[in-house]
């Protein structure tokens, strides 16, 4: 009510003033009337009344002040004044606003990502109660997921959870209505939805019955519902063909619903089908540890109690597999979701904080310089009676107006950056699909803006409030005396800026070097002129391996006849993408050290001319040939050079044997090594690479002996085709060839190998790009900082310089003195930055590839660049100092 009145009064100041005038005049008149009635002359009465009233104007002001909430209006006046000041010195205003915009924009954009990935709660009720189960086997390096029977055991036996849900990523060819496509699906236990605590948008989710009996039902995602079923209400009850088998759609999940995924973290899927473990899957104990398990803690159960409970269940599991020593570990779902992205996000946050610090230092410096330059103005105003408080407030408001403008620019930049970034950021960041500018982010940014304005505005404001009126007037506005301590502060700020920029520059340099190293890494094959595609053969029409082999043979012939095609091959995986499956193996004659992990190799099941198509060089022996595919042919294997080096050190591997499984003493069939090929990167080039072994698809089942059932039919296959010309040109013809062989098949992931390799470089390309642009911004800000200080110091010392020149100093002298000052600032900053880099770059180690955190080349380059920038920043003021005309400057005094 009061506030409202004051606000209204603001808009009616004139009316309020008129009213007060009338009120006061009435008072005066009444007093005069009374006096006249008492016998005083009207003239005398008026005089007395006036005297009593004092200064009518002052009184009116005070009354209005009580009325109109003067401080609010004063605030507005100060804001207008600040805007006018900005217009008067646009260079200063633009510099400050850009400095802040870049700083705040960067912080907001990066924080939006960090918020979405790390801080935002998972989209489930009470997500902190969700845990993920991992099993481990002694002598295996990494924590594995669970095997299918173990999932069942934990579901049945554990008591600490409201439910345990198993899941495994799957993909299905969707056919029937509309264009065939490959759906990213997930097989999940019926418990999945209750455990996560998410209800379907419509319809229902699986029942335990449906899960156990393998009923073909599916729950689809909001996106699939919208895109393929046009958001029709009648979708529940419709059927959808997955791998040619009809599934009944029973439910639609709400928008943005994501489930825990095998890749770690949570991911959106197109659809979910019941896990419905097959008898074969249930029998595969201590192998096939591919199933994830997520569970919700019962109310009141602590993580510690859950661990004890899981350990109890583990004993039951352990009893089934006497050979191996198992372990179980529990981890928060959230913890697991963000673990992988943490180093990158920490680095980004660190970089952004550095940028913001630099921006603040710059802002403080600019405001200090400006306040010093305006000392005379303030001196005059204080001499004319302006209250110190008013001037302080005004300075503060100027700083705030600048900050808010900078903040607005920054938010605009952030909005652009987030929109752009959502499409560009690497998919390895979990929950990337949810990034947007959120309210918490906006609030944080606004807080930063205000804090920056207050801190940076307060320092110069306090400094100039101390200014003695007479001092500033006497010095003729030159402000030389005030100098020392303020100059020292400004120099310190610039040195800090340079040091921070140095730190960023070194970090960016290290990442750039890593990136160059990655690009320079030989992937072990020749990606040029190769096109690749994925073909999934549904079990329903390709029930046996013979059928699959027949199809591959057919396709190979068709594609081989296309013009320009040099070689056609197939494999269960393609290199570089890091989705290779790995396998336990035992090499003949290799003795495992005590405590050494089991031998693991990436395994590729190949057909056709896989090696020739990818250009993988043969070191010794031979490639696979048609004779290996004949029924009853001896089992053969080709190994990678690094496998040969490690497991057949000093021996000729050709003709020796390898078995699948942990020990060579077991009853598995022997595979004869017939060839050694060059090492191929099976993970992205900057990751650790595994040793590899290759087997013909046609022998895949036989290699596993009596476990053959487990592998089933290898019907998911990647094709690689080498051509003479442009591989892109081949893509359409390849698809046609597939459709001629089987019109119902979907061809997916049709890309050139060049694209495949480039895609795996994308995350590093992104990191490098971001950090390099941060370093660029930092460099620009530092440059501005040095320039600002020197330009000011030259302007301030104009008279001194003029006298020097008049007394015979050469212009080269003067120029060199100024330049030397710039270099001194730069060099001090560089030294400080170098010291900081020595300590801090080690935290980058996990992001580096083949570069040490203290890479001499990078450090040297950063030093050179910064010194060059310091020289550049000093050059312009130095020139100005040298071009001083002594007569003109001195005459102006």
């Amino acid at each position: 009510m009061r506030l409202w009145r004051r606000i209204i009064n603001l808009f009616r100041r004139e009316r309020v003033e008129a009213e007060i005038d009338a009120e006061l005049r009435a008072h005066l008149e009444m007093a005069v009337e009374d006096a006249v009635r008492a016998g005083v002359s009207e003239e005398e009465a008026r005089r007395v009344a006036r005297v009593r009233f004092g200064n009518l104007q002052v009184m009116r002001e005070r009354t209005v002040g009580a009325d109109a909430a003067l401080w609010v209006e004063g605030l507005w006046r100060d804001v207008k004044y600040a805007l006018r000041q900005m217009k008067k010195s646009p260079g200063f205003a633009v510099t400050v606003v850009l400095t802040l915009g870049l700083g705040i924009g960067g912080v907001t954009a990066v924080f939006s990502v960090v918020y979405a990935v790390l801080l935002r709660p998972l989209p489930y009720p009470q997500a902190s109660r969700l845990v993920v189960l991992h099993e481990g086997i002694e002598h295996f390096g990494s924590k594995a997921d669970l095997s299918a029977p173990d999932v069942v055991t934990y579901q049945r036996e554990s008591r600490a959870f409201t439910g345990v849900a198993g899941f495994i990523d799957a993909s299905y060819d969707v056919s029937g209505k509309g264009e065939p496509f490959r759906a990213r699906a997930e097989r999940v236990s019926a418990a999945m939805f209750p455990v996560l605590g998410v209800k379907p948008l419509m319809g229902r989710t699986f029942t335990q019955q449906e899960d156990e009996n393998g009923v073909p039902v599916a729950v689809i995602s909001y996106a699939l519902w919208k895109n393929r079923f046009d958001g029709s209400r009648g979708v529940v009850g419709e059927t959808i063909d997955l791998n040619l088998r009809p599934y009944t759609i029973i439910g639609v999940m709400p928008r943005g619903f994501a489930t825990p995924s095998g890749l770690g973290g949570i991911a959106p899927h197109d659809l979910w089908v019941p896990l419905s473990l097959t008898p074969a899957e249930k029998a595969a104990e201590a192998d096939n540890m591919d199933y994830g398990a997520v569970a919700r803690l019962k109310p009141g159960v602590t993580m510690q109690q859950a661990r004890q409970d899981a350990a109890r269940v583990l004993e039951i599991v352990q009893a089934r597999v006497p050979g191996a020593r198992l372990s179980i570990s529990l981890r928060g779902l959230k913890e697991q979701t963000v673990a992988e992205a943490r180093p990158l996000l920490r680095t980004l946050m660190g970089a952004v904080v550095l940028i913001l610090l630099i921006a603040c230092a710059n802002l403080a410096n600019l405001l200090l310089v400006r306040a010093a330059g305006r000392r005379r103005e303030f001196g005059v105003r204080m001499a004319l009676g302006a209250a110190r408080k008013t001037l302080l407030r005004q300075l503060l408001i100027e700083a705030l107006v600048l900050s808010v403008t900078g903040g607005a620019v920054g938010m605009g930049l952030a909005a652009l950056a987030v929109r752009w970034g959502a499409g560009t950021l690497p998919n390895s960041l979990p929950r990337m699909h949810t990034v947007s500018i959120d309210w918490p982010v906006v609030l944080l940014a606004m807080g930063l803006v205000c804090a920056t304005g207050l801190v940076c505005g307060l320092a110069p404001a306090l400094a100039s409030a101390k200014a003695e009126v007479m001092d500033s007037m006497r010095e003729g506005g030159q402000a030389t005396g005030q100098g020392r301590s303020q100059n020292r502060l400004r120099n310190a700020l610039v040195v800090a800026e340079v040091a921070l920029a140095m730190l960023l520059l070194v970090s960016a340099g290290l990442l750039l070097r890593s990136f160059a190293r990655m690009l320079g890494t030989n992937p072990g094959f020749r990606p040029e002129h190769v096109v690749t595609a994925f073909v999934g053969l549904p079990k329903e029409s390709y029930p046996t391996q013979e059928k699959v082999d027949e199809f591959l043979q057919n396709l190979r012939e068709r594609v081989g006849e296309l013009p320009g095609v040099r070689a056609v091959g197939f494999a269960s995986n393609i290199p570089v993408v890091g989705r290779n499956s790995s396998r336990l193996f035992a090499a003949q004659g290799y003795v495992r050290q005590v405590g050494e992990e089991y031998s693991m190799a990436s395994n590729y099941l190949t057909a056709g001319e896989y090696f020739r198509a990818l250009g993988i060089p043969l070191i010794e022996g031979r490639y696979f040939n048609a004779a290996d595919d004949l029924p009853g042919a001896p089992l053969v294997v080709i190994i990678s050079q690094s496998l040969a080096r490690k497991y057949f050190a000093g021996r000729d591997p050709l003709g020796t044997h390898i078995k699948v499984g942990p020990s060579y003493q077991n009853a598995m069939p022997k595979m004869t090594v017939v060839g050694v090929v060059g090492d191929v990167s099976d993970n992205p080039l900057d990751k650790k690479q595994d040793v590899a072994m290759y087997e013909p698809v046609s022998q895949a089942a036989a290699d596993l002996g009596h476990y053959a059932r487990m592998i089933g039919v290898v019907g998911s296959i990647h094709a690689v085709v080498r051509t003479e010309g442009d591989p892109r040109a081949l893509e359409r013809e390849f698809t046609q060839a597939v459709h001629q062989a089987d019109p119902l098949l979907a061809v997916t992931d049709l890309r050139t190998m060049g694209q495949v390799v480039a895609a795996t470089e994308a995350p590093r390309r992104f990191n490098t790009w971001v950090l390099t642009s941060f370093a660029g911004i930092a460099l620009a800000l530092a440059l501005l900082g040095i320039y600002g200080v020197l330009a000011y110091s030259v302007a301030e010392r104009m008279r001194e310089i003029a006298i020097r020149i008049a007394l015979g100093a050469t212009r080269a002298d003067v120029q060199w003195r100024t330049l030397r000052q710039a270099m001194a600032l730069g060099a001090t900053g560089v030294l400080a930055g170098l010291a900081a880099a020595m300590v801090l770059t080690r935290y980058l180690a996990s992001l580096l590839y083949k570069v040490r955190p203290l890479d001499g080349f990078t450090l040297a380059a950063a030093v050179m660049i910064l010194l060059a920038c310091a020289a550049l920043a000093g050059w312009v003021p130095a020139r100005r100092a040298a071009s001083v005309d002594p007569m003109r400057v001195l005459r102006m005094e």
Binding site: R2, R5, E23, H27, M59, T63, D67
Partner: protein
Amino acid sequence: MARNDLQGSLDLLVLKTLSQRGKLHGYGIVLHIQRASDDLLRVEEGSLYPALHRMENSGWIGSEWALTETGRRAKYYRLTAAGRRRLRQAEGDFEELVKGVQAVMRYS
């Protein structure tokens, strides 16, 4: 502790006057205080009007324009409910002040 400043006593005087006399304009308030205090207290116009407007903004008093007995337009003030509460508080404060001052004066 009570708020015992001069402004407080001016507020008290104005509020008390309005509670005793109902509707009154600024000039009337000055006259009343002067008369009631046997010319001991003279309220300065320079303090009165800012105080009136401040109290009006605080919601303690309301105002309206009306004609005086001599047919002049003047702004009349009257006490609001909030003003009455404020008055009671101010009276209490004032009594405490007086007691406190007396106690100090009598201290030996």
